[in-house]
Symmetry: D2
């Protein structure tokens, strides 16, 4: 009964045109694995815009992986003293412990949060080309063991205190970072808007404000104002061997659209894009093929392959977001597209 | 280049022992498709507990699928009048329109939210055995066209106003419902806790409070207090042809653990479990096989197959949650388990 | 040492011009009690706009006061059964109990939320002219005692289960209502914008989007997108004998600004405005005087006085919000205004 | 009509017994100004416990005041470059500008958040004994003017970009700090629990978990899990000349209760307590008297008076929280107390 596979439909769409600090100006075909097959033509339309409009510029704001350990002191007073001491007196030692235990993990920051007498230490690391879940758990365990040996008053609570935060909705990730903080942006002329997206900048901006911004606020969203980041994230995560449950954090991002003299400025901000090109799942045949075809196995400088992958994903999220929002500006386009495409593909 | 598949590793684990209004007392093997292969042994340990402890009882609190349309009135004053009129004067007509357009969709409720002069109408439906994304978009479009024809002052904004909320973090879903609202629970003796989970009820409860409750609150979570619902949800979604991006809402749930005379009471509350046994993805060979093996294609009463699937998933989420929390009570168990399992499976 | 008073500076500003279902078209002077005395000239500028621009239209979407009791069943299964039974079999009985116990409280709705085996019953009432905190606690206690006597399996947890939600940040209040859900709106010509507010509609809208919408989302706000509702709410609450701590819920509201052919459409949506004209604090001399001068003691129809007060407050919140946002469009206006006013008033 | 006052009832309750780094072991009477007069006896009961149980220990975790300016770059790419350059190349210059412009304000940290091409710079300062609202606006304006002169590509958006966050619900404040981050804690014997609070540690902890933790999570709270911080905060803010609207942030805090060998450990964590002993409102006669009586005008070291005030407030919040939670463990105590006290005080 074992050693089966879930064979999820996958297609390459595009090309998506991308520019960044590390991508000169490339047109890249991207694989989307999904049961929601209408994602293919929809994202492809956005990709078409990217080629016509001079490409999507992608920037990385920050990059890390985190794990929060939770420890209990005898009192809040001692918790505060110990937390300060860790940062002032033990940071360098802890950084050394991390580097000794791993070729790739480097301690980047420690932030503490104290509730009553419980300390949540949010440990932040760079992890090379790995998404780094296990690497940081391993490093956190070493740090934890050291702290428990140095501070006799501390008691172990949990190696993961839900202040990390992994695969769960939170605010802390967007504010302090987890994964790669990516922004993808494009300037689209009124003309391309009309001809490819069948809408105008003004109409798209109006819909964006009332749906993504006000609609999300009214729904009680948190750090999130977009149409469907999660769809594209999952499709690319499955195609490239990522831990798909990290789309939960990934889904918390912000689309922006505003009119200007040239037409439409459009961006997607994804503060928590967790991806890797090595580790779990990356050895599977089709995953390797996909990563190779995306150019994400070529660099020998640690971190650059994963960064390239994040940039391609961010650009693809923009394509999917742009196309869906444009479709929604026309009352019956969404449903018609679904019906047409699904009939054609029966 | 097309018509490829992403072949994701899948194993059946279990059996998970489940009881509910519609499941007598069965031991069910469940498929988990995931790159995170340590999920298999971990969830299997929880399944073992389910068998020894008399089974997991699953309850369904509510069931619906929603879509929110967004419309603009000339003023807030008119928006309020129109929203009231829709509910008082047009509800029956709208329910009829929905029933005429679909064999399975039934209008269940309309809730309005007005921001300035923009109306967000959250339409709630039952959708039989389908998860219902497209069914409710179709129904919402009919409702929208009717309303635009009746209320000349209304202007179309969006067929989906982000007050639905689909694949995005929100509070409204947990409060008003989207998908199936499931609770799975189990009573575990101190003895089983010790022998299978290698911990005590008191230690597990203490860790749960500081990690899942306080840790999540400190992290700025929203409607969410659990360890890793998203992991199990995704693995079962991929194995059964679901729209995996709905784990975003699914991840927003609450674990509860408390000590009592008998040992440990443990439950998982999942307010937004979106699943179907018909529709997109369900025709794929292995999906059909899996649904069949889970007994989720057997009923001829609309809705019962999807409900059965939701109950099995909820019980499996409990298994995964219980096992991970127990592991975390022991300082180095998590890392050791990862290392052992991954070494064995290289 | 006792029987002292905190003597907080108070001024009447205005007039604020208001129109609604119950206010024909009046110009009303409003009292603001505050240590932040720059609120006076700032809100007065907004009031001036209200008079020039034809008045602020105010609408009430809904009206209630809530209390959530928390009860525990032996299992989630029984919790679900009991919750259903309460709504189906006992609603009328409970409504009767409420009406018998109070001249003004009427049961309006019961909503349940179940986490594990704990039931949170959110009881919603109308409470006439009282804000109703004590009235609904009293009613909830009667309901609770009845339920504990009918359902032998239920165990008391808390008469207030934090699902009410009183004086605390939450999403449930905005979605299900607590207090009066108010919208105030105004249309302002480009000309008035320029001459009184020293800005243009386009500049104000751009600032609003980047500050109130995107800035709030980035900050991890919840159901909240405004500049300073809390300031005006507190100043009016203190002047009219309200429970000032309810500004916590009141602060969670949404400002909207959009350009149109006539100039600027501007609105404030306040879903949780909790006010009363009878009860605690209303017997104090200056409070009575203020309520009288606002015309909020004149009606003999229960509820109309409190509603009138809510409408005046909502209109005043709009004045304060409009004026501050306009000031912020000019780089140094805010600081200059503070310095000038405070120097003048030393 | 002007120069009136809102005369709000005020009483001193206590003494509250407090210990901290700067308070040796004092019994302090505290003034509460409120229309909700039942706060007096309730908080007084908590104060009684504080004296019997050896006092409330108070710790300060951090201390700052913030203002976020919002600026727009031509692209996200440039926004990222500029944000980095500010932190790397201009921090010292900016710190100097701040120190030159004020005797008390010191730049403590700059954190940036970029959405699309809009930069939100969250500027963090220490502000001596002032709460610092105006001081940091003034400093932020100087910083802003400097940045606009150095970076020609930047465009002014807002001197306050709602990422500060002032008087509004948010996650960023609890995570990055705004105001004083205070923890107050106490250990209470089973005996005192029984005799003064009429409950047991176990019953209080159970209620706390289901009300403050789970109830708040179910209600969609954010960074908040307490019973009524806002009540005590407002009463003390009004009595000591604070900007009362800051209870919005102040309300977002976490109560903790757990049983141990000695009885009950109880704490309140208030991450955003904004108070000052100089500035707006502090010159008013009764305010000055109150601050003096609290010992909050005695120190000549900048910051110590405001810190002392924050510690007293935190301890008083604990008293109010403890007493209400204890009352709620007894089904009808809350209502009976209200009725008795209000009858007595008519």
């Amino acid at each position: 009964m074992n050693n089966q596979v879930a064979a999820i439909p996958m297609r390459f769409i595009g090309p998506v045109r991308v520019r960044s600090e590390i991508i000169d100006d490339e047109q890249i075909n991207v694989p989307l694995a999904t049961y929601e097959t209408t994602l293919w033509p929809s994202t492809a339309r956005g990709a078409k815009v990217s080629c016509l409009a001079g490409g999507i510029a992608v920037s990385m704001v920050s990059d890390c992986m985190t794990r929060s350990i939770s420890l209990e002191a005898p009192s809040a007073k001692q918790a505060v003293e110990i937390a300060r001491s860790i940062e002032v007196n033990h940071y360098d030692k802890l950084a050394g412990i991390v580097s000794q235990g791993s070729r790739f993990a480097k301690l980047q920051a420690i932030q503490h949060h104290i509730i009553g007498k419980t300390i949540y230490l949010r440990l932040s690391f760079t992890t090379g080309d790995a998404s780094g879940h296990n690497m940081v758990t391993f490093a956190a365990e070493h740090i934890q063991n050291y702290l428990l040996s140095v501070f006799a008053d501390l008691r172990y609570v949990s190696i993961s205190g839900n202040y990390c935060v992994d695969k769960k909705v939170s605010a802390v990730n967007a504010i302090l970072g987890r994964g790669k903080y990516m922004i993808a942006e494009i300037n689209i002329s009124e003309n391309i808007c009309q001809q490819v997206l069948n809408t105008t900048p003004a109409r798209l901006v109006d819909l964006h404000i009332k749906k993504n911004l006000i609609g999300s606020i009214a729904a009680g969203s948190l750090q999130s104002a977009n149409a469907h980041f999660a769809n594209i994230l999952l499709a690319m995560y499955l195609a490239t061997g990522q831990d798909g449950a990290n789309i939960v954090e990934g889904s918390q991002g912000i689309t922006h659209a505003q009119c200007d003299d040239q037409g439409l400025y459009f961006s997607v901000t994804i503060p928590n894009l967790i991806v890797g090109t090595v580790g779990h799942g990356k050895m599977i045949g089709f995953v390797k093929d996909n990563l190779e075809q995306l150019g994400c196995l070529a660099s020998t400088e640690p971190g650059l392959n994963a960064r390239r992958l994040a940039e391609i994903i961010a650009a693809t999220v923009l394509c999917g977001e742009l196309s869906l929002l444009a479709a929604l500006t026309n009352p019956d386009e969404l449903m018609r597209a679904h019906q047409l495409f699904e009939r054609r593909n029966r």
